[in-house]
Amino acid sequence: MKKKGFNFLITRWNLGFFLFFAILIIGHYSGILNPLERVFFEIGNPFNKWLYQKSHRLASDYQENKRDFVADLAACQEKNIIFAVDSAKTKELQDENNKLRAFIDFFSNHEYRKIYADVLAQEVLSETNESRQNIIIDKGFKDGVSVGLGVINEKGVIVGKVVEAKDRNAKICLVTSRSCKLAATIQNQNKTMGVSEGSLGLTTKMNFIPQTEKISINDLVITSGLGEIIPRGLAIGRVSEVINKSNEIWQSATIEPLVDLNNLTIVAVVLP
């Protein structure tokens, strides 16, 4: 007899399934499944890193070459495919090499303890229009990463901070994310201090600046080093707009990040 409505749920197989389902969830939260999850993560890391880099390059090329598609199509027909593939591989290696050299240069001039990390994935937040706000790196608690640490790119510009960490990976919120708040200083005459906060996944804002503070476009904004474990002096961005209404107590500044946050493949976590 055909089961109608919800009666199809009540079978021995289904009950066994839901029992196993509950065991999985309890196993995760009790920590019993941690070793297994760690093993899966260790095995998956190299593949995730490789796939993320491939996808990232694809996305960058898609944006740049959309307009030139017709011209490129004609040019590609004449090119040798093997040389094109070799060239792409070499370029990737060169990019990685350049980034690592830039990191070495930066850290030779600045005495920061750091942990290098590869970006494995980015989290897409669909409930708002703000995508590309969080990234996941392949270092976690076991590597010395903890919540609140600042993350920089190869040029020493702060790109975000650690918001969650597991044993072998961590989640970084980018500076343009609403959940990324940094103690900041504007390098103006008064060295105005405040808190920068991401806005719409595109820029950063500093609100509640007293009207008496004089802020100019292109003023550099850096981390102030107050109250957190992020050192002072890491560049956040430049002031691109000052919103100053005479009938309001506060003014606010829009800060444009100095780097393209869509171009992160290797980052460094700055240790206290």
């Binding site: 969830i25 939260y29 897409v124 996941i136």
Partner: protein
């Protein structure tokens, strides 16, 4: 017996590949492509071709891995995928009982819709801890855009795969009536 083991192994490898793609590759693509949901597509195909048991097992597999690797509340993906399988099975049993291409596409669209609702609702509930200012997603433009592309890609991929599999498999022969 050997063929069955080989088929199971192949599906297992395919499932692992899809998990890697869904975690690292797809979210880094340009925005409209980020809504592609490969695990959901495979789960729905498995529901039609193999029945609810194998699709529930696939839902468990995908959900467990994605929950372990992501930083959302553990069980967000698990509950979403299992919820979709149960709702799809309910629809198949009670309403879309004819196994035609169009009813399958309708099932895909409804499942994609319910997956997005369940996932976002769970994410919203579990993130209501005051640490970040979560907004209710339902009327946000970003969610609606994501929902549209999710349904679009799911229906497109499922439709194409359904037609391809009907050509190579005998299980769907009665579905496609040939005009004489």
């Amino acid at each position: 017996m050997l063929l069955k083991v080989f088929k199971t192994g192949l599906i297992f490898l395919l499932a692992i590949l899809i998990v890697f793609l869904q975690f690292s590759f797809i979210p880094s693509l340009p925005q409209s492509f980020q809504a592609i949901n490969l695990p959901l597509i495979l789960i729905l195909l498995s529901l039609i071709f193999s029945g609810p048991h194998s699709s529930l097992l696939l839902a468990l597999f995908f959900g467990f891995f994605l929950d372990s690797w992501h930083f959302y509340f553990f069980a967000t993906y698990l509950l979403s995928f299992v919820g979709v399988v149960l709702s799809a099975q309910l629809i198949l049993k009670n309403w879309l009982t004819d196994r035609s291409l169009f009813s399958f596409l309708a099932l895909t669209a409804i499942s994609s819709f319910s997956y997005n609702i369940i996932w976002n609702f769970l994410n919203f509930i579990f993130s209501l801890n005051g640490s970040n200012d979560s907004r209710f997603f339902l009327f946000s433009f970003g969610f609606l855009k994501q929902l549209f592309f999710s349904i679009f890609w799911s229906v497109l991929f499922c439709g194409l795969l359904f037609i391809f599999l009907s050509l190579v498999s005998h299980r769907l022969k009665p579905v496609f009536l040939k005009k004489r």
